[in-house]
């Protein structure tokens, strides 16, 4: 019996969401009185990392078939790893990869699954997990009735905890099919924390009036070390790249801090950001609906307020 956690390593690097999944799996394993096994696929720069976050064993698959992401191939590996370690629970991050894998792994190993869970399971009677539903307006409690379970963990739901442990590292050898999906190209904006992983986000909307005014947004983001985002009309008008669009039909994010500049706060936008820990709204319209969802608000012209905020942030950082 064990808890298996699949930890992604894009370009060999384990990111914060991977460490969150490791911590979640380790804490779950501890509460179930069983061990936590980490499974990694492809290039991994630091195989000792999962051990530092609570895994007691690391299974590493590095065959040629896993060079690019193919959900069927990865399912072969994860299901194989789950069988080898007698896993009754499989954990992964709720990422674009996780979303392609959850249902596959669940069907393959005969498990019930819940995606985007926001807390550790309550195993006192059944196996009950929480998840944000209705675009953040409610929390659902789900009970998984099968012996085996697969969960994907919503980002920023648990903080990674270093246990100072060490895991035994083993090469994983399982039969794996040839990939059917061929990756032709992968373009990621380098040097920027991707939005779904960002802890600090500065977002702006039509209140900025035009793409030429985005300098103040980027300066504030730079000062904070934040990732930039935007509302749907801004992306649709081509002012900003569409992967910056946060909202119901864009990316849903859970940063620690979400600063919204010149965004009114339509319900579809809120759906993407209302799980943020702290929301700051700056808008010159005091009736903007976003103020109702905000923790802190400033009624003022973004062109006057934002530079002052950036200056104040820089002052804090230098003190």
């Amino acid at each position: 019996m064990s808890v298996l956690v699949y930890i992604e390593s894009p370009k060999g690097i384990i990111k914060k969401q991977g460490l969150e999944a490791a911590t979640y799996a380790a804490q779950l394993a501890k509460s179930m009185g069983t061990e936590c096994v980490a499974l990694l696929i492809g290039e991994v720069q630091d195989l000792s990392l999962p051990g530092k976050y609570g895994a007691t064993k690391v299974l590493h698959y590095n065959g040629a078939n896993a060079r690019d992401f193919d959900a069927q191939v990865y399912t072969d590996i994860i299901a194989g790893g789950a069988e080898k370690s007698g896993a009754s629970v499989v954990i992964m991050a709720h990422s674009s990869t996780g979303k392609s894998l959850l249902g596959r792994v669940a069907v393959r190993i005969g498990a019930g699954a819940v995606s985007g869970v926001t807390g550790l399971p309550d195993t006192s009677s059944g196996f009950i997990v929480t998840k944000s539903v209705f675009s953040g307006k409610a929390i659902a409690h789900y009970n998984i009735t099968t012996d085996k379970k697969v969960l994907s963990l919503m980002g920023n739901s648990i903080q990674p905890v270093e246990t100072g442990g060490e895991a035994k590292i083993e090469a994983l050898d399982v039969p794996v099919r040839s990939p059917k999906v061929k990756v032709i190209e992968r373009k990621t904006t380098e040097g920027v924390v991707p939005l779904p992983e960002a802890e600090l986000v500065v977002s702006a909307g039509r209140g900025l009036k035009g793409p030429e005014n985005w300098g103040i947004v980027e300066e504030l983001a730079d000062a904070l070390g934040a990732t930039t985002a935007c509302s749907r009309p801004v992306a649709d008008s081509g002012w900003r790249p569409h992967h910056e669009h946060v909202g119901q039909t864009g990316v849903a994010i859970r940063p620690n801090l979400y600063i919204a500049l010149g965004i009114s706060g339509a319900i579809q936008h809120l759906a993407g950001v209302n799980n943020s820990r702290t929301i700051v709204v700056i808008n010159k319209d005091p009736e903007a609906p976003f103020f109702k969802a905000a923790d802190y608000g400033v009624v003022g012209d973004v062109f006057e307020v934002v530079p002052k905020l950036t200056a104040a942030v820089k002052k804090l950082k230098h003190s």
């Binding site: 190209e185 991707p194 992983e197 608000g297």
Partner: protein
């Protein structure tokens, strides 16, 4: 669905809409037919969990020879994002999620998809399953001709193949309420920064 219709307009073929649900869903299914789908199937069952919905869809689809199965990227109600993956595994087909662009060249698809912080382009041979993200196609509204034709397009109701479900809903609760917004004087950004640092502890 619109992308599916566009592909059949370009390459020939048919588009079947499938839904798992009660008769009250027929109105929406007819709307899909009015937009341009060829025919529709409704599995007559109250949806329970994603596994069950997928099992019913897979059971119907497996002998029908579909080249592409399209699903949405995430449901608006329960924020489920797994249906396509379940169906693909049950039918042992490749699954590509978050497709923002799809071109078919014979039986080979070239798909653009959203990944964290960027985009990926991949190719796969049919048949396969994909989930659609914004940008895959322009929305279409049914026109009068479509609405008239929809009335006579086939909408076949079939019994569920399985009632097996693996996840039960225990309850729904409201998230903890936010206390009212704290307004800060626009001339005093030092105060906002102080609050974010000392009170919210986010910077």
């Amino acid at each position: 669905m619109v992308r599916a219709i566009e592909l059949t307009e370009q390459h020939g073929g048919t588009v079947t809409v499938i839904n798992v649900g009660p008769a009250s869903n027929d109105i929406i299914i007819r709307k899909a037919l009015a937009i341009g789908a060829t025919d529709a199937v409704r599995v007559d069952a109250e949806p329970t969990d994603a596994y069950n919905t997928a099992a019913n869809i897979a059971s119907y689809a497996k002998d029908q020879g579909y080249n592409i199965i399209f699903t949405g990227k995430e449901t608006i109600d329960y924020n489920g994002s797994g249906l396509g993956a379940y169906i693909a595994e049950m039918l042992d087909l490749p699954y590509i999620s978050y497709a923002t662009g799809l071109e078919m060249n014979g039986n080979t698809a070239v798909i653009h998809r959203d990944i964290e912080g960027g985009e990926e382009v991949c190719s796969v041979e049919g048949p396969f399953v994909l989930s659609a993200a914004k940008g895959l196609a322009e929305q279409r509204i049914p026109n009068m001709k479509g609405i008239m034709m929809a009335k006579s397009k086939p909408l076949t109701v079939i019994p569920p193949a399985t009632s097996e479900a693996r996840v039960q809903t225990v309850k729904f609760v409201l998230p903890p309420a936010k206390s009212g917004v704290k307004l800060i004087d626009p001339e005093n950004m030092d105060e906002l920064v102080r609050l974010l640092h000392e009170e919210a502890k986010v910077i």
